[in-house]
Symmetry: C2
Subunit: 351 residues, 2 copies
DNA sequence: CCCGATTATCTAAACCTTTAGATTTGCTTC
DNA sequence: GAAGCAAATCTAAAGGTTTAGATAATCGGG
């Protein structure tokens, strides 16, 4: 910790010491005009010596660009958010952009609040407005529950990109939920399963609906028995996985495999199976969703669909950068989930 | 999305429209001088109408204070980091501070790199220097592996606070590891356990050593049998929990309870017990550390010590704010971990 | 060695605030 | 209604950069 403050040294000091004008130093720094190699060297040396770093506040003021984006997370402690931030950050680093993070702490704050819907909107709008006054060049909004947020925020012309939200008109990054669910089914079918049950999330949830589409498509395409008894509506919680598995196992003709729409409900499946004495995967196969870290600590370790969260974040940042530059964003295909094969899937006992 | 850009409206426009000087608007905004209620009203109304937000870049330039701190995380995807950030954010909100987040992605980047130690240092030093040029008022550094970082960074007079790191001279926030481990032991002793084994983390890890101290202290104070065979050195991974539990169960006089220094190794304990046919908690009690989210999805749900991560973050921000103001930071006691009682601890079979 | 054409460098304004210090306004008191 | 004083408001500089436009230096050719 030296005595001199970083801020004490300005471009003025550098100019003086290098015997050039302030402008020249600026040109060296930004490469905006030619400067003779000899002088460039000299300036650079002085900059190095004095450990000069341009004052970002002044730069932003003049440039009307901060190279900083705002990231609004509805809740950073929710499992998929840090990965998305990691992706954003990864890309931001490469683009020399910085991240101003706002954590809405939605879950925590809303539980203390009566009119939930409104307060959530005002929290978010507040965050947007604060970030704009911080002169961010754009905003990425990371929702924890995909839903439609179209036109929610007045960003006064600054671009906004949604990660893991579903909006109609704005730029919004998701992964291919339908395909993922279809792939999971394909995996089960390849093992020989025919009677495959599904435990969905809440049906007002968009991913839940999309995943169901994939399930349904697989049923049709693979010509599997279509049996409404095998379609159970869960609510994302372990308890619902447990309860619905119990129901499934009591069926006259129980399924040989269950597709749980998240790993947490898959835990419920495991519990129910253990309780009834059904062996997994020998007597019942299970496949989850999300590749939560605990999924490989369970006994048995469950197979699951890994979400391309890093990629979502990365692409969100990429798209935002394009929007900031005013360039059109290419129509990328949705990133796909990846099957993680572990120990909860095996061929059915009786073919 | 209106046509006018936020940045188009400056204090000048407000002043003109409200028929006052620029200075007066500034006084209204900051309350730095008296302004007649009538004019204040008028100015505020115009501000409201035109949706004016002060240009933060200009403010920072003049004030030489950005109300922004830098947060450097070694890796945001590591389990304890988001909670810490949440705590920082919670406090920052109250202090009207903003967070510039830098994610070093240490784990990911270092694996691709040869000279690990050096590159880690240069990544971190780089981040510090970038943040300083962004004019942050201070920095919080969140390490993922506690270790000594004293004097690592040249912050040119800006204060820096370490969260979840161990430094000697600088301000550094941890929780009371020793007490936590002691409390866990006390819990087991209260259930009647005497032969308690410990599976440690890597012994070059500071928390591991501190937790061992707590274990040892409990052994002494409760007058428990001191048996080196019951002290196993693990490496934080599930496999080591598994292997060492196997060793423990083969002892002539096996332990009735195991203290695992993290939940991941506790998973290993569960696996080993399941394999050998030892029932948990009837025949063997297990207590973990970290309260990882999976700890309540395991069968049985394991009891564990919850870490005060939110508080660590909150206090880190509090301390940093004091340092920024040049005030002394009070000597708070270390925050404590909290026992989460679940289903993996019961009284031993034979008293 | 000078001229013209390039190329390099400099001067000064602008970006949008904050804030001393100067000036004006509004009130009280005689 | 004027003097005196406090309160309100204004003027203008400053903060560190970028960037047109102006000026100075360099170079090649005759």
């Amino acid at each position: 910790m030296r005595g001199e403050t970083l801020a004490d040294i300005g471009i003025k000091e550098i100019a003086a010491k290098a015997n050039v004008s302030i402008a020249t130093v600026s040109y060296v720094l930004n490469g905006t005009r030619n400067v003779r190699p000899k002088t460039r060297e000299r300036v650079l040396r002085v900059i190095e010596e004095m450990n000069y770093k341009p004052n970002n506040a002044a730069q932003s003021l003049k440039r009307k660009r901060t190279n900083t984006i705002g990231v609004i997370a509805e809740d950073v402690t929710v499992f998929n958010v840090p990965e998305i931030i990691d992706g954003i950050n990864d890309c931001a680093d490469k683009l020399d952009m910085h991240i101003l993070l706002t954590n809405l702490r939605l879950d925590k704050r809303i539980s203390r609040n009566f009119d939930q819907v409104d307060s959530y909107r005002s929290f978010a709008a507040n965050a947007v407005s604060e970030l704009l006054s911080k002169q961010v060049d754009g905003i990425i909004y990371i929702g924890i529950h995909p839903r439609d947020l179209t036109g929610l925020f007045d960003t006064y012309g600054k671009p906004i990109v949604y990660a893991y939200c579903y909006t109609q008109n704005d730029v919004s990054l998701q992964y291919n939920d339908e395909q993922a669910s279809y792939d999971a089914m394909a995996h089960l079918v390849k093992q020989g399963h025919k009677r495959i049950a599904v435990i969905t999330g809440m049906m007002d949830s968009i991913p839940s609906r999309l995943r169901f589409n994939g399930f349904y498509k697989a049923i049709m395409e693979y010509n599997l028995p279509f049996d409404p008894q095998l379609m159970k509506m869960g609510n994302w919680e372990a308890e619902s996985g447990y309860r619905l598995t119990m129901e499934l196992l009591e069926l006259n003709e129980p399924p040989t495999a269950i597709l749980a729409m998240n790993d947490v409900m898959a835990v419920g499946v495991l519990r129910a199976a253990a309780e009834v004495g059904v062996l997994i995967p020998r007597e019942l196969s299970v496949i989850g969703f999300d590749n939560r870290e605990f999924s490989e600590y369970l006994i048995p370790r469950i197979s699951t669909m890994d979400l391309p969260l890093h990629e979502i974040g990365y692409q969100a940042m990429e798209s935002l950068a394009l929007l900031i530059k005013g360039e059109p964003i290419p129509n990328n295909p949705l990133p796909n989930c990846k099957l993680i094969e572990r120990d909860s899937v095996a061929p059915p006992l009786r073919l």
